[in-house]
Point group: C2
Chain length 304, copies 2
């Protein structure tokens, strides 16, 4: 099934306790597309880049089945650039530089060639732009998933609430779930967020795994305990890409299949943090993914 | 099989965002015994109490199969008293009062009637006292488990390391695992702690569940997502009691059975936080425990 992925394609410069990168390729839609490309070769990208975005990266994504009809290229301007430094716990980071560049004028347009797509993944973006994409679709996709972040809760809560109403699945981290709902208990937070529109709430807890809520059902997915996390950048986007990539591949949006999709997203996230940037996502093969999934099965398996 | 439980029996006064208690019964060995009593009726308690400790509480524990030969009663003194206030996140708390009272002169003696016991649970206590109990045993138990806390790492690290050498299983929370090992990664922390002596390391992560490490094997147990946590006091001791209670009941210390024991400990901990103090542990029945265990199975079950 076809899958639209919208979000940023950008450059990042990252510093972690394990090292430092110059400008490398990043962006929510880049990570999500690389991750999803392991499960489906019918991905339709919506983003905006500058003339500085490497042709080789575009070609590499196209070779994996990612369409670029919806990616605007502004030749004489620069791509979005973010630079950040992670603390020892890898859960907190300082933003050093945010150069919006082309992102400041992003006015996403859904190409005709993307109409009729069955799945839509809205990566982290200004909520009004996420909404603009949804309303341009002539046929409602089978499933709309949105990611968002605390930044939009701080500066664009009304727009965010408008957009949340329109989606089927929302992904946030635990702090964001609490901020959005005003509830400390994640169970109550998820219930309140479901009352805002989405039928499914996914709460990402980093090294503690993720929770999926639907009505009164809850699924708890572990994270793989890792010896080292080299670079957590893009872990959430990679998780999202694996999640929706599996749903698009199987064309099954049952709660049972969403549980499998969360494990697959978690496995993909466990790869991406092993090296800087998208490097691991580009090199892993099906056998490595299957082995990692088997590790997840072993990790939580018990008999009562 | 017989199970020795050593630790404090005390009074607590607790304040949480949900309410406040006067002095109620608490202590690591009290919670552990109530929890374990749902799985075995051959518990041998080692503790010290004052004349103020209620006879009804002692009788209630005796009725559940808890022996008091190893509990010293100092008639003209007071029991250990702790008072604390939890913050909104329920993971951090301020200690308001610590009155050691009888605990200051605790010199645990293993009664002859306890010799030959197959299981030993050392609840949180001064490490030198935990060691004193181990060295008094004429036959080494099949399994020795110890709980400890950051306080002892701060003031009695040498004694703690001496005691750790002698045990099979150590239980700590994630912050304590990091402090004890000097490693941020919990995988590396557990490996380092295993090199100190214990063959098994259990890392408790509160609302995020628990991890069991043994050699290169890892088991990840979820916590049950709860709408409200009324009082987290004793959750770790209750977890420990359920864990070793199940092992003593089944007389099976395989890694596979320890995984089941961790789920059972987690289920017991999910009950105890629903009300203040040990109240829930006293009222729950086998059917409620079985239903809760089924919830854990459902919570993590997935197909890949």
């Amino acid at each position: 099934m076809s899958l639209i992925i919208a979000g940023t394609m950008a450059f990042d410069a990252i510093e972690t306790p394990f090292g430092k990168t110059d400008k490398i390729i990043g962006g929510s839609a880049t990570y999500a597309a690389w991750s999803a490309s392991h499960f489906t070769n019918s991905i339709q990208q919506i983003s905006i880049i500058g003339g500085d975005f490497p042709t080789e990266e575009i070609d590499a994504l196209k070779a994996k089945g990612v369409a670029f009809d919806g990616v605007e290229i502004v030749q004489d301007e620069k791509s979005f650039f973010w630079s950040g430094k992670y603390h020892m716990d890898m859960n907190t980071r300082d933003t050093l530089i945010t150069d919006l560049n082309v992102l400041a004028k992003f006015n996403p347009q859904v190409p005709n060639s993307y109409q009729g797509s069955e799945f839509l993944m809205l990566g982290n973006l200004m909520p009004s732009l996420q909404k603009q994409i949804i309303t341009q679709l002539t046929t409602r996709p089978k499933l709309i998933i949105m990611d968002t972040m605390n930044f939009w809760m701080d500066i664009a809560m009304d727009d965010l609430l408008e957009t949340i109403k329109l989606v089927d699945v929302i992904m946030v981290n635990d702090g964001e779930a609490r901020q959005l709902s005003g509830e400390y208990s994640l169970v109550k937070a998820a219930q309140k967020i479901m009352s805002m529109g989405p039928k499914y709430v996914i709460i990402k807890k980093g090294e503690h795994g993720a929770l999926l809520f639907h009505g009164s059902q809850i699924f708890s997915a572990p994270a793989l305990p890792l010896e080292d996390v080299y670079d957590p950048t893009g872990a959430g986007d990679t998780f999202a890409g694996g999640f929706i990539g599996h749903l698009a591949k199987t064309n099954d949006i049952s709660f049972e299949n969403m549980k499998s999709a969360i494990i697959i997203g978690s496995a993909m996230a466990s790869f991406v943090v092993e090296k800087f940037g998208t490097e691991r996502l580009k090199e892993i093969n099906d056998k490595e993914i299957q082995d990692r999934l088997n590790q997840f099965v072993k990790l939580v398996n018990f008999n009562i």
